[in-house]
């Protein structure tokens, strides 16, 4: 038997064994075989239901195929069958680590389609909640990456801070996790001065706590050893694969939509875009740590600059009227009835609107036929696109680096699978 047929027969043996669910495969010469490791979809280090098929030569990864779709709920199909308002709660379930960011991104997309804008106070609040959500998402990244490489304390400390943030979200939106806080043309409700005081307290203390975490990691030999030079991706490859967000900024590309195409009130705020050159896991960690500090700065400025006023645009046929007016005014009652039953009817047209979410560019492409629900709504989720670059990052890594690389990419399967 020549080597070619031998290989084929060997391969079919593995396949047959997998199909028969027979786990005891024996080889004549085990050292000459690549091993296929099936990791996930139920695996704690894959951060959700990500499945990886990893080809190993000894301990070295020589191939990796990510498989997604285990959390596919068909949100794009659902969107075509509900009104623009009804889809807001579904956006919470995309990137469930920063639902406020998705709420904002979706509201901005629909507002762009309608040609309306939220009033200044609502815009400031949206920036505030987006940045708080970014901190919350990056804290999750910090905790899980540190835990993946064996530093358990950081996980506890990061979650202590996230817990405080969830209390803030509960005060702001009324829910800790599934916030559904934005409305088309505004917000569900205004934030109270007490809540703003809580935000202020949190954001004053936060940089100090973050520094404590940094002190545990930045000069930690084990942490540096597990992340430095691991999972490298070059600038050109990252751009080719459409990597966005902290992953791209860790390769030396200073692209951030908040700066490149400012939306909301970002152009009036002073913040830096952290860029690192390494392109490895450590660089991605540094970028996110610096981003959290910048986000804290942004929230400070928002708290100083936030104007008083309405949080709803005055567009009677497009924005849901206030409840007290619905009960007392005939016109508002009619508008409310029409908006709830038939939905807001945007003009015929198509738009693509994107924001800088914690994971990268979160975009909504909406094609409208002029009806109450979108004809087509496409969610450009950063995690889905970023996962493509996993194959490149994994090449040549060791099996123990796999979890660190996944952690550094910070995918959320709710978003990747839609």
């Amino acid at each position: 038997m020549d080597t070619r047929t031998e290989e084929v027969s060997r391969k079919s043996k593995i396949l047959q064994a997998l199909e028969d669910q027979n786990t005891s495969v024996t080889f004549d010469d085990p050292l000459e075989n690549d091993m296929i490791l099936n990791m996930g979809p139920q695996h704690p280090a894959t951060h959700g239901v990500l499945r990886l098929l990893i080809r190993l030569d000894g301990e070295t990864v020589i191939g990796c195929v990510p498989e997604v779709g285990y959390l596919h709920r068909g949100y794009e199909k659902l969107a075509e069958n509900c009104t623009y308002h009804e889809f807001i709660p579904h956006t919470d379930r995309l990137d469930y680590l920063s639902p406020l960011n998705n709420n904002t991104a979706y509201a901005l997309a629909v507002e762009k389609l309608l040609g309306i804008e939220a009033p200044p106070r609502a815009q400031y609040i949206r920036v505030m909640i987006s940045e708080l959500a970014r901190i919350s998402s990056h804290l999750m990244f910090l905790g899980s990456l540190a835990m993946d490489v064996g530093a358990l304390t950081v996980w506890m400390w990061a979650f202590r801070e996230r817990e405080k943030e969830y209390d803030l979200f509960e005060n702001i939106a009324g829910a800790r996790f599934t916030t559904s806080y934005t409305r088309i043309g505004g917000l569900a409700q205004d934030v109270t001065p007490q809540t703003l005081a809580m935000v202020k307290k949190f954001i004053d203390e936060f940089p100090g706590y973050l520094e404590e975490c940094e002190r545990l990691l930045n000069k930690n030999r084990i942490f540096i050893g597990r992340t430095d030079g691991i999972g490298i991706i070059s600038k050109e490859k990252a751009m080719d694969l459409g990597l966005t967000g902290p992953g791209l900024r860790a390769c030396g590309v200073g692209h951030d939509l908040r700066r490149a195409n400012p939306y909301l009130v970002y152009k009036d705020l002073d913040f830096a875009i952290p860029v690192y050159e390494g392109g490895d896991t450590l660089a991605r960690y540094y970028v996110r740590m610096d981003e959290m500090k910048e986000s804290a700065k942004i929230v400070q400025q928002v708290l100083e600059k936030m104007p008083a006023g309405e949080v709803h645009a005055l567009k009677p046929k497009k924005v849901l009227p206030r409840k007290e007016r619905v009960y007392t005014k005939m016109e508002e009652l009619i508008h409310d009835f029409m908006l709830v039953n038939f939905g807001v009817a945007p003009p015929v047209g198509e738009i693509y609107s994107a924001v800088e979410a914690p994971k990268g560019e979160l975009g909504f492409y909406i094609y409208s036929h002029g009806e109450g629900s979108p004809w087509r709504l496409k969610i450009r989720s950063p995690s889905f696109v970023n996962l493509q670059s996993l194959t490149t990052m994994m090449m040549g890594a060791m099996i123990s680096d796999v979890v660190a690389i996944i952690g550094s990419l910070d995918p959320v399967m709710g978003e990747a699978d839609k």
Binding site: G69, E76, G242, V253, E350, G363, Y365, R376, R380, Q388
Partner: protein, 161 residues
């Protein structure tokens, strides 16, 4: 850079006849025949004054019309010029095939798989055209308008024991 400049460049290179365009909310949409889509994409990426180096998104759309039923939409972004551009091309229901742009942007790989998965549009020359979300045995294309919202009972087979 503005929309007019991009359109002028495209028309100068590919001729007036093959390009239709529209502007809505300050976003330029260019509709092209599918035969020249790869050529146009490469031109947009490599031309020194345009440099649309990031394929932000690629998706399908079912217009549910007798002709030109399926559309494929390319949302491009230029990191240097911070400008967006949308390309659009249509394929017929009987022959939903068009060339792949994975040769221009590597990121198109999964996007095209998703479009194939959801609409059944086939990208010719794609290195690995498999379903990305639905199971491989699934026979339908869920985002087509004639696929019911509730799904088709029994269409997702249970795993073999």
């Amino acid at each position: 850079m503005d929309n007019g400049f991009v359109l002028e460049k495209l028309k100068a290179r590919f001729g007036e006849g093959s390009i239709e365009s529209s502007v809505f909310r300050d976003e330029l949409t260019v509709v092209l025949p599918k035969e020249i889509i790869v050529e146009v994409c490469r031109f947009l990426k490599e031309e020194s004054q345009l440099e649309f180096d990031l394929l932000a998104d690629l998706c399908g759309i079912d217009m549910y019309t007798p002709v030109k039923r399926f559309g494929v939409i390319y949302n491009l972004y230029s990191l240097k010029n911070k400008h967006r551009l949308r390309l659009k091309t249509f394929v017929e229901e009987e022959d939903p095939k068009l060339p792949t742009v994975t040769t221009v942007w590597g990121t198109a790989n999964w996007h095209e798989r998703e479009t194939y998965d959801m609409f059944g549009v086939v990208f010719e020359g794609h290195p690995d055209l498999r379903r990305v979300y639905m199971p491989d045995e699934f026979e339908y294309f869920p985002l087509r308008k004639d696929f019911p919202l509730m799904g088709i009972p029994g269409s997702i087979p249970l795993p073999k024991k």
